[in-house]
Protein backbone atom coordinates (compact mmCIF):
# COMPACT_ATOMS: atom_id res chain seq x y z
CA UNK A 1 0.00 0.00 0.00
CA UNK A 2 1.57 3.27 -1.05
CA UNK A 3 2.40 5.74 1.69
CA UNK A 4 1.54 3.42 4.53
CA UNK A 5 3.39 4.30 7.70
CA UNK A 6 5.30 1.32 8.96
CA UNK A 7 6.36 2.85 12.22
CA UNK A 8 7.38 5.96 14.05
CA UNK A 9 10.72 6.68 15.65
CA UNK A 10 11.70 9.34 18.09
CA UNK A 11 15.25 10.49 17.63
CA UNK A 12 17.32 12.72 19.87
CA UNK A 13 18.97 15.22 17.54
CA UNK A 14 21.61 16.10 20.15
CA UNK A 15 20.09 19.47 20.90
CA UNK A 16 17.92 18.18 23.68
CA UNK A 17 14.85 18.15 21.45
CA UNK A 18 13.27 15.03 20.06
CA UNK A 19 12.42 15.02 16.38
CA UNK A 20 9.57 12.80 15.35
CA UNK A 21 10.08 10.95 12.11
CA UNK A 22 7.67 8.72 10.27
CA UNK A 23 9.25 5.91 8.36
CA UNK A 24 7.10 5.15 5.39
CA UNK A 25 7.08 3.02 2.28
CA UNK A 26 7.47 5.21 -0.76
CA UNK A 27 6.07 4.63 -4.21
CA UNK A 28 9.31 3.00 -5.32
CA UNK A 29 9.15 0.44 -2.50
CA UNK A 30 12.02 2.03 -0.59
CA UNK A 31 11.84 3.23 2.99
CA UNK A 32 11.84 7.01 3.38
CA UNK A 33 11.90 9.30 6.37
CA UNK A 34 9.11 11.83 6.08
CA UNK A 35 10.59 14.48 8.33
CA UNK A 36 8.16 16.59 10.22
CA UNK A 37 10.78 19.30 10.77
CA UNK A 38 10.04 22.65 9.21
CA UNK A 39 12.49 24.00 6.67
CA UNK A 40 13.81 26.45 9.24
CA UNK A 41 14.44 23.72 11.78
CA UNK A 42 16.17 21.70 9.11
CA UNK A 43 18.53 24.53 8.22
CA UNK A 44 19.11 25.30 11.88
CA UNK A 45 20.00 21.66 12.54
CA UNK A 46 22.40 21.47 9.62
CA UNK A 47 24.17 24.65 10.69
CA UNK A 48 24.51 23.54 14.30
CA UNK A 49 25.90 20.23 13.10
CA UNK A 50 28.50 21.94 10.92
CA UNK A 51 29.36 24.60 13.50
CA UNK A 52 29.06 22.83 16.87
CA UNK A 53 30.99 25.55 18.68
CA UNK A 54 29.04 28.42 17.16
CA UNK A 55 28.24 31.25 19.55
CA UNK A 56 25.31 32.23 17.35
CA UNK A 57 23.13 30.44 14.82
CA UNK A 58 19.93 31.95 13.52
CA UNK A 59 17.65 31.16 10.62
CA UNK A 60 14.96 33.61 9.59
CA UNK A 61 12.25 33.01 7.01
CA UNK A 62 12.57 36.43 5.40
CA UNK A 63 9.38 36.59 3.43
CA UNK A 64 7.20 34.06 5.23
CA UNK A 65 7.17 31.93 2.09
CA UNK A 66 9.27 29.14 3.59
CA UNK A 67 12.06 29.39 1.03
CA UNK A 68 13.82 32.76 1.37
CA UNK A 69 16.20 32.56 4.30
CA UNK A 70 18.55 34.81 6.19
CA UNK A 71 21.10 32.83 8.19
CA UNK A 72 23.57 34.19 10.70
CA UNK A 73 26.46 32.09 12.01
CA UNK A 74 29.16 33.17 14.44
CA UNK A 75 31.89 30.56 14.81
CA UNK A 76 35.65 30.26 15.37
CA UNK A 77 35.70 28.13 12.19
CA UNK A 78 35.56 31.39 10.25
CA UNK A 79 38.62 32.94 11.87
CA UNK A 80 41.29 33.83 9.35
CA UNK A 81 39.13 32.99 6.34
CA UNK A 82 38.13 35.39 3.58
CA UNK A 83 34.44 36.22 3.25
CA UNK A 84 34.29 33.89 0.24
CA UNK A 85 35.84 31.12 2.33
CA UNK A 86 33.45 31.76 5.22
CA UNK A 87 30.36 31.71 3.02
CA UNK A 88 31.62 28.57 1.29
CA UNK A 89 31.58 26.77 4.67
CA UNK A 90 27.95 27.78 5.13
CA UNK A 91 27.08 26.63 1.60
CA UNK A 92 28.76 23.28 2.36
CA UNK A 93 26.65 22.90 5.48
CA UNK A 94 23.46 23.66 3.56
CA UNK A 95 24.34 21.67 0.43
CA UNK A 96 21.30 19.37 0.68
CA UNK A 97 18.52 21.96 0.96
CA UNK A 98 20.28 24.03 -1.71
CA UNK A 99 20.31 21.01 -4.00
CA UNK A 100 16.72 19.88 -3.40
CA UNK A 101 15.20 23.32 -3.87
CA UNK A 102 14.18 23.93 -0.26
CA UNK A 103 16.15 27.16 -0.41
CA UNK A 104 15.11 29.53 -3.17
CA UNK A 105 17.11 32.49 -1.93
CA UNK A 106 19.72 32.66 0.80
CA UNK A 107 21.33 35.57 2.62
CA UNK A 108 24.35 34.81 4.75
CA UNK A 109 25.97 36.74 7.57
CA UNK A 110 29.09 35.24 9.11
CA UNK A 111 31.06 36.36 12.14
CA UNK A 112 34.27 35.06 13.62
CA UNK A 113 35.02 34.57 17.29
CA UNK A 114 35.30 38.23 18.27
Amino acid sequence: MLGAAVGAQRRDDGGGRLAEEDVELGGDGRLRHACSLTAMERLDGLLRQAFPDASEVSVVDRMGTGDHFQVVVASPRFDGLSLVGQHRLVYDALAEPLADGAIHELRIKTKGSQ
Binding site: H68, L83, V84, H87, R88, Y91, A95, L98, R107
Partner: protein, 120 residues
Protein backbone atom coordinates in the same frame (compact mmCIF):
# COMPACT_ATOMS: atom_id res chain seq x y z
CA UNK B 1 27.83 22.33 -22.83
CA UNK B 2 31.55 23.00 -23.15
CA UNK B 3 30.69 25.85 -25.51
CA UNK B 4 28.78 27.61 -22.76
CA UNK B 5 31.61 26.92 -20.32
CA UNK B 6 34.15 28.40 -22.73
CA UNK B 7 32.06 31.53 -23.24
CA UNK B 8 31.61 31.94 -19.49
CA UNK B 9 35.34 31.59 -18.96
CA UNK B 10 35.99 34.10 -21.72
CA UNK B 11 33.69 36.72 -20.22
CA UNK B 12 35.21 36.27 -16.77
CA UNK B 13 38.71 36.75 -18.18
CA UNK B 14 37.98 39.52 -20.70
CA UNK B 15 35.61 41.77 -18.79
CA UNK B 16 36.85 43.80 -15.78
CA UNK B 17 33.71 43.38 -13.67
CA UNK B 18 31.21 40.60 -14.33
CA UNK B 19 27.85 40.12 -12.65
CA UNK B 20 26.11 36.81 -13.31
CA UNK B 21 22.50 37.57 -12.43
CA UNK B 22 18.90 36.51 -12.87
CA UNK B 23 17.51 38.84 -15.49
CA UNK B 24 19.20 41.94 -16.86
CA UNK B 25 20.16 45.31 -15.34
CA UNK B 26 17.09 46.74 -17.04
CA UNK B 27 14.85 43.96 -15.77
CA UNK B 28 16.28 42.16 -12.73
CA UNK B 29 14.32 39.08 -11.70
CA UNK B 30 15.73 38.45 -8.23
CA UNK B 31 16.25 40.42 -5.02
CA UNK B 32 19.82 39.32 -4.46
CA UNK B 33 20.78 40.11 -8.06
CA UNK B 34 19.38 43.62 -7.64
CA UNK B 35 21.30 44.10 -4.38
CA UNK B 36 24.58 43.14 -6.02
CA UNK B 37 23.95 45.33 -9.06
CA UNK B 38 23.10 48.34 -6.91
CA UNK B 39 26.21 47.87 -4.75
CA UNK B 40 28.41 47.69 -7.84
CA UNK B 41 26.72 50.77 -9.35
CA UNK B 42 27.21 52.77 -6.15
CA UNK B 43 30.90 51.90 -6.27
CA UNK B 44 31.02 53.18 -9.85
CA UNK B 45 32.01 49.81 -11.30
CA UNK B 46 31.81 49.16 -15.07
CA UNK B 47 29.39 46.23 -14.91
CA UNK B 48 29.20 43.52 -17.55
CA UNK B 49 26.02 41.63 -16.78
CA UNK B 50 25.28 38.07 -17.84
CA UNK B 51 21.70 36.81 -17.58
CA UNK B 52 21.73 33.19 -16.40
CA UNK B 53 18.01 32.62 -17.02
CA UNK B 54 18.00 31.86 -20.79
CA UNK B 55 19.54 28.41 -20.32
CA UNK B 56 19.72 26.16 -17.22
CA UNK B 57 23.18 25.03 -18.28
CA UNK B 58 24.62 28.50 -17.77
CA UNK B 59 24.15 28.29 -14.03
CA UNK B 60 25.36 24.68 -14.00
CA UNK B 61 28.58 25.47 -15.88
CA UNK B 62 29.19 28.64 -13.90
CA UNK B 63 28.87 26.88 -10.55
CA UNK B 64 31.11 24.06 -11.77
CA UNK B 65 33.74 26.66 -12.68
CA UNK B 66 33.51 28.88 -9.62
CA UNK B 67 32.58 26.35 -6.93
CA UNK B 68 29.87 28.81 -5.82
CA UNK B 69 26.34 27.40 -5.75
CA UNK B 70 24.14 30.49 -5.97
CA UNK B 71 23.31 33.50 -8.13
CA UNK B 72 24.39 36.30 -8.28
CA UNK B 73 28.15 35.84 -8.69
CA UNK B 74 30.49 38.78 -8.98
CA UNK B 75 33.97 38.65 -10.53
CA UNK B 76 36.58 41.42 -10.60
CA UNK B 77 39.46 40.80 -13.01
CA UNK B 78 38.70 37.08 -13.03
CA UNK B 79 38.55 36.74 -9.25
CA UNK B 80 35.35 35.56 -7.57
CA UNK B 81 34.32 38.24 -5.10
CA UNK B 82 31.30 36.33 -3.88
CA UNK B 83 27.54 36.82 -3.94
CA UNK B 84 25.21 39.64 -3.01
CA UNK B 85 25.91 39.58 0.73
CA UNK B 86 29.67 39.79 0.35
CA UNK B 87 29.44 42.50 -2.32
CA UNK B 88 27.19 44.58 -0.08
CA UNK B 89 29.44 44.09 2.94
CA UNK B 90 32.50 45.10 0.92
CA UNK B 91 30.62 48.11 -0.46
CA UNK B 92 29.70 49.26 3.05
CA UNK B 93 33.23 48.97 4.38
CA UNK B 94 34.77 50.70 1.36
CA UNK B 95 36.66 47.54 0.45
CA UNK B 96 34.75 47.15 -2.82
CA UNK B 97 36.06 50.47 -4.10
CA UNK B 98 39.54 49.53 -2.93
CA UNK B 99 39.37 46.25 -4.84
CA UNK B 100 38.10 48.02 -7.94
CA UNK B 101 40.86 50.62 -7.71
CA UNK B 102 43.61 48.08 -7.31
CA UNK B 103 42.22 45.86 -10.07
CA UNK B 104 41.16 48.52 -12.58
CA UNK B 105 43.28 51.52 -11.69
CA UNK B 106 42.44 54.69 -9.75
CA UNK B 107 40.50 56.22 -12.64
CA UNK B 108 38.00 53.38 -13.01
CA UNK B 109 35.06 55.62 -12.08
CA UNK B 110 35.51 57.78 -15.14
CA UNK B 111 34.15 55.04 -17.38
CA UNK B 112 31.24 53.31 -15.57
CA UNK B 113 29.89 51.70 -18.74
CA UNK B 114 27.25 49.06 -18.19
CA UNK B 115 26.59 46.31 -20.70
CA UNK B 116 25.01 42.91 -21.06
CA UNK B 117 26.74 39.94 -22.67
CA UNK B 118 25.18 36.63 -23.72
CA UNK B 119 26.87 33.25 -23.26
CA UNK B 120 24.37 31.22 -25.31
Amino acid sequence: MSEIREKIQQVIVDEPVVLFMKGTPQRAMCGNSTLALEALRRAGAPVTAVDILPDAHIRQELSALSGWPTIPQIFIRGELIGGADITEELAESGELEEKLESALGAGYRSDPAEKTVAVV
